[in-house]
Structure formats: structure tokens, C-alpha cells
């Protein structure tokens, strides 16, 4: 199994990277500011939210601007990746129907692409960290976090891409759901006592561990880390399983 398995992994990685590259070029194509938009998008959103919220809500949270932007860019990563995933298969119908490719790549490439723009957002974040006098060294802790966060997002993306083949209703539903999720996640506010909504919302965990580590330099408990790792692996496995089950039928349903 192993030689063939690794060959497949290699193929999937190669194709994912190429697709991500092509999509990246497409996004900056025909725009005057080009790559700058990767920085401007999160920055503009941040400015708006900061102006609105810093007066009332923000005053109780230490380092509120930093707190806000980290929540924002992490949510941004999640919502961009999952929203794009909805069309991962349908937008590439011609290829799916005319070439036998590893369809996983179509979804994975979107995660890579989103990670890439996320990297620019992290740069902005790092600059702000320094500006507010926080040691940016703790940002290193973000590497394993984003790994598991991506894994979870990828799992969900697999499911969304699969459903996206069969119905376009999900486009509308998902747009609505991410909007709800935005308010149900402590992005511009903080939670004292987690109620059922926060316990069930996976994003809360990733946001909390990132903020605790990077901004407040608090070490999370091992139990909390295990929750995140297990949750990521479970969601990823379920997503991959659904996708594997369904992918052979994609071509004829497009």
C-alpha cells in the first residue's frame, strides 16, 4: 500500500499547489492594486470594526485591537475557504468531466490559496503586535494551531464541495450560516461563561487557544489541546470519508 499511497499523496500535493498558483494569479488578474488586496482586505475590515467596537465593547478586553484582528483573520480564513469550497467541483466541471484527476486537489488547492492570503494577514498582525509592545515570538505557537485549524476547515470543505455538486441551495444557506457564525463567535466580544452555543462552535476553541498563547502568553491545558486535536482529526476524517464515498459520481452529476 505504502508506495502507491505516497505516490498518490505526491500527485495530490503537486496538483493542489499548481491549482492554487493558478487561482492566485486569477485573483490578482486585472486589478491595479493586485497583491496589495491581500493586505488591504483584512485591514479595511479591521478599521471598520475597530471604530465601531472599541468604544463600548472593547474597553473591557486587554489589547482589544490585537484581540479583534486575530479573531477576525482567523474567521476570515475559515469563511473564505469554506465558501470557496462550495464551488470547488462545480466550477471545474470541464476538467472533472474530461480528465481523470485526483478530485481532492480541487478542494485542497482552495485551502492552500486561502492559507497564502492568510499569511499576509498574519504579517499585518505581527506588525500590530510589535506596535502594541507584545513579543511577536509567541506567534510561532500559531504554526501548529493553523495546521489543525486548516485540517478542520478542509474536512468541512470536503463536505461542502460534495453537497455543492448536487444542489446550489447551499450557496445561500452557507452565506447565511457564516453570518450567524460570525456573531456566534467571540470575534469582537469576549465570553465569560461559555454556554451551549460556544461549546458547540468549533471556531471558539481555535480562537481561544490562539489568543491565550499569542496575546496573553498563557499556556493552555493539555486537555484543551487534546480537544482541539481530536476535533480537527474527527472533522477532517468525516469530510474525507464523505468526499471519497461521493467523488466517483461527481462527473455525471455536473
Amino acid at each position: 500500500m505504502s508506495a502507491k499511497f505516497w505516490q498518490k499523496i505526491k500527485e495530490i500535493t503537486n496538483l493542489s499547489l499548481s491549482l492554487a498558483k493558478a487561482n492566485f494569479k486569477l485573483r490578482t488578474e486585472g486589478s491595479y492594486l493586485g497583491i496589495l488586496w491581500y493586505l488591504l482586505d483584512p485591514l479595511l475590515m479591521f478599521v471598520v470594526l475597530f471604530i465601531i467596537f472599541s468604544q463600548n465593547l472593547g474597553s473591557q478586553i486587554a489589547y482589544f485591537p490585537i484581540y479583534l484582528i486575530l479573531g477576525l483573520i482567523m474567521f476570515n480564513f475559515f469563511s473564505t475557504a469554506t465558501t470557496n469550497a462550495l464551488g470547488a467541483i462545480t466550477n471545474n466541471a470541464t476538467f472533472v468531466k474530461s480528465i481523470k484527476i485526483n478530485l481532492e486537489s480541487l478542494v485542497i488547492s482552495l485551502i492552500i490559496q486561502t492559507l497564502y492570503s492568510h499569511f499576509f494577514e498574519i504579517i499585518i498582525f505581527a506588525i500590530l503586535l510589535i506596535f502594541y509592545g507584545i513579543n511577536p515570538f509567541y506567534l510561532l505557537a500559531y504554526i501548529p494551531i493553523i495546521f489543525f485549524f486548516s485540517l478542520m476547515t478542509l474536512g468541512l470543505s470536503f463536505v461542502l464541495a460534495t453537497i455543492g455538486v448536487y444542489t446550489s441551495d447551499l450557496n445561500h444557506i452557507w452565506r447565511f450560516l457564516t453570518q450567524i457564525l460570525f456573531f456566534a463567535t467571540p470575534i469582537f466580544y469576549s465570553i465569560k461563561k461559555p454556554n451551549i452555543i460556544f461549546i458547540l462552535n468549533p471556531l471558539v476553541y481555535y480562537l481561544k487557544i490562539s489568543r491565550d498563547l499569542i496575546i496573553y502568553h498563557q499556556r493552555p491545558t493539555i486537555g484543551f489541546c487534546l480537544i482541539i486535536i481530536t476535533m480537527s482529526l474527527i472533522i477532517f476524517s468525516i469530510g474525507l470519508f464523505v468526499f471519497q464515498k461521493a467523488k466517483n459520481k461527481f462527473a455525471e452529476n455536473l
Binding site: 503537486n14 496538483l15 493558478a22 486569477l26 471545474n92 470541464t94 481523470k100 462527473a251 455525471e252
Partner: protein
């Protein structure tokens, strides 16, 4: 043409493919839910099913070239897609042994907002080549397509002939190295390029075919079928209507469609 050996590269037994033509497919969840309660639903299910292929038996001898002809909608492309592993069959048995290469024209799949160069890299990746391998073939591809002056032009500015040149050149050079045992060609030779290029393309395909692979060639160009093929299948409404030597089948086909 049926070979006694069972270990042939291509082995199709009673293959059938059903498509669901139900109009409700894209009409949303609500419609589907309503439909669940409708008594007509179960009956409708069967009548909506449409057998694109039925009872296809095909066991070509290795190294032979099989032509497939038939009207639009007779199931030619569906059959090739099943062999390529893109579609799943609903009936029968299929076994494909060896590396398969499926050549079709996917000009529409190119990214119009990317340059020719970027598109070549994209196609190469889709055909499972890594960056280095594509780089090695890049000059040949450009050379063959005769589009050297447009390497950095965005593809949306291309004419349809140029697009089919690009699509064909990129595909053929990216699959050439694979030494496939099975080559499936789906109307790749007739997509809008001029006579000069077409002849070049045919020659290129000939080179590929002569490598000893088992070839399934779908084409509306009867002359091509006649020239290359050892055996011809005439598909009609998803079934093998007739099969035989190229000349016999083709002359009959021409008579029927005259």
C-alpha cells in the same frame, strides 16, 4: 475480435450506464421534498432513467485500434469516460489493466484570464506532471502549437482555432512520455483547427498509436477511422448496432445516414 485470453487490457462485459434525466435535479430541496410525497414518484423514477449504454461487450486484442462511430448521443463519449474511470457503470463488468490516457478536447476548460504559458502549466499539472516535467516539454508544446508569439498572451484573446491548437498540443505532449497501454481518443482531432494543423495532429497521434497501445478512437471523421482502425463499433442509442471491419461498417453507416 474476441480474444480467448482473459488478461486483456480492456475487458468490457455487458456494460450499461444509466443517466437520471429527471427534471427535478436542479430544482432544489423543497421540490425534492414535495416530490417524496407524490405517488407518481416511484413510477417516475424508472421512466426518467435513460440507458446511455446497454449491453456493451468489448474485449479488444491488445495493441489493436478500435474505432467507434455513431450519431450524437449514441453513447460514444460515455463509453470512453467509463473506460477512463471518469464515470461509474451501473451494470456489467469492466476491467482495465494498465496505464490509461484519455485524450479529449477541453478547450473550454482552459482559464481564459491566464496566459498561454500559465495554461500549459495548468494542463500539465492536471495530467499529473510535475513542474520540472512540464518545463522540459514546454518548448515542444509551444513549437508544435505554432503559437510562439502568444506565449504571454491571455487565452481569452485567442481565437477558437488557437485554443484547440493549444489544448491539443499541451495534452499530446504531456501524455506522450507515459507509454500508456491504453489510449482513448475522443474527437480530439476535429476541434476547429485548420487543415494544416489537423494533419500535423493526426501524424502526432499516429506516432502515439504506433507505440503498441490498445487504442479506442471515437471520431466523426470516417476517413480517419478507416485509415487507422482494425475494427469498428457502430453505436446506436447506447447499444452496439453493428461491428466489423472498418470498410464494411463505414459504408453501411454512410448509406444509412445519407
Amino acid at each position: 475480435m474476441i480474444n480467448a485470453k482473459s488478461a486483456n487490457h480492456i475487458n468490457l462485459k455487458g456494460v450499461g450506464k444509466k443517466f437520471n434525466l429527471s427534471p427535478t435535479k436542479k430544482e432544489g430541496i423543497l421540490f425534492k421534498c414535495l416530490n417524496l410525497f407524490s405517488a407518481a414518484n416511484t413510477a417516475a423514477k424508472d421512466s426518467n432513467g435513460f440507458w446511455a449504454l446497454k449491453d456493451i461487450n468489448l474485449v479488444p486484442q491488445d495493441g489493436k485500434i478500435i474505432g467507434i462511430i455513431g450519431c450524437n448521443g449514441s453513447g460514444k463519449s460515455t463509453l470512453l469516460r467509463i473506460m477512463a474511470g471518469i464515470y461509474q457503470l451501473d451494470e456489467g463488468k469492466i476491467s482495465i489493466g494498465g496505464e490509461v490516457v484519455y485524450i479529449t478536447s477541453f478547450g473550454q476548460g482552459l482559464m481564459p484570464k491566464l496566459t498561454m504559458k500559465e495554461n500549459i502549466y495548468l494542463v500539465g499539472s492536471l495530467l499529473n506532471l510535475n513542474q520540472k516535467e512540464i518545463k522540459q516539454r514546454f518548448d515542444e508544446i509551444v513549437e508544435f502549437s505554432e503559437l510562439k508569439d502568444y506565449v504571454n498572451t491571455k487565452v481569452y484573446k485567442f481565437s477558437s482555432g488557437m485554443i484547440s491548437r493549444l489544448s491539443f498540443s499541451a495534452t499530446i505532449y504531456c501524455v506522450k512520455h507515459k507509454n500508456p497501454e491504453i489510449i482513448l481518443i475522443d474527437e480530439a482531432l476535429e476541434a476547429g483547427a485548420d487543415l494544416n494543423f489537423k494533419n500535423k495532429a493526426i501524424k502526432k497521434v499516429e506516432e502515439l498509436i504506433k507505440g503498441g497501445a490498445t487504442v479506442i478512437l471515437v471520431s466523426h471523421e470516417l476517413e480517419l477511422i478507416n485509415r487507422f482502425c482494425d475494427w469498428v463499433l457502430w453505436l446506436d442509442k447506447g447499444r452496439i448496432f453493428k461491428e466489423g471491419l472498418p470498410q464494411e461498417i463505414i459504408s453501411e453507416y454512410i448509406k444509412t445516414n445519407a
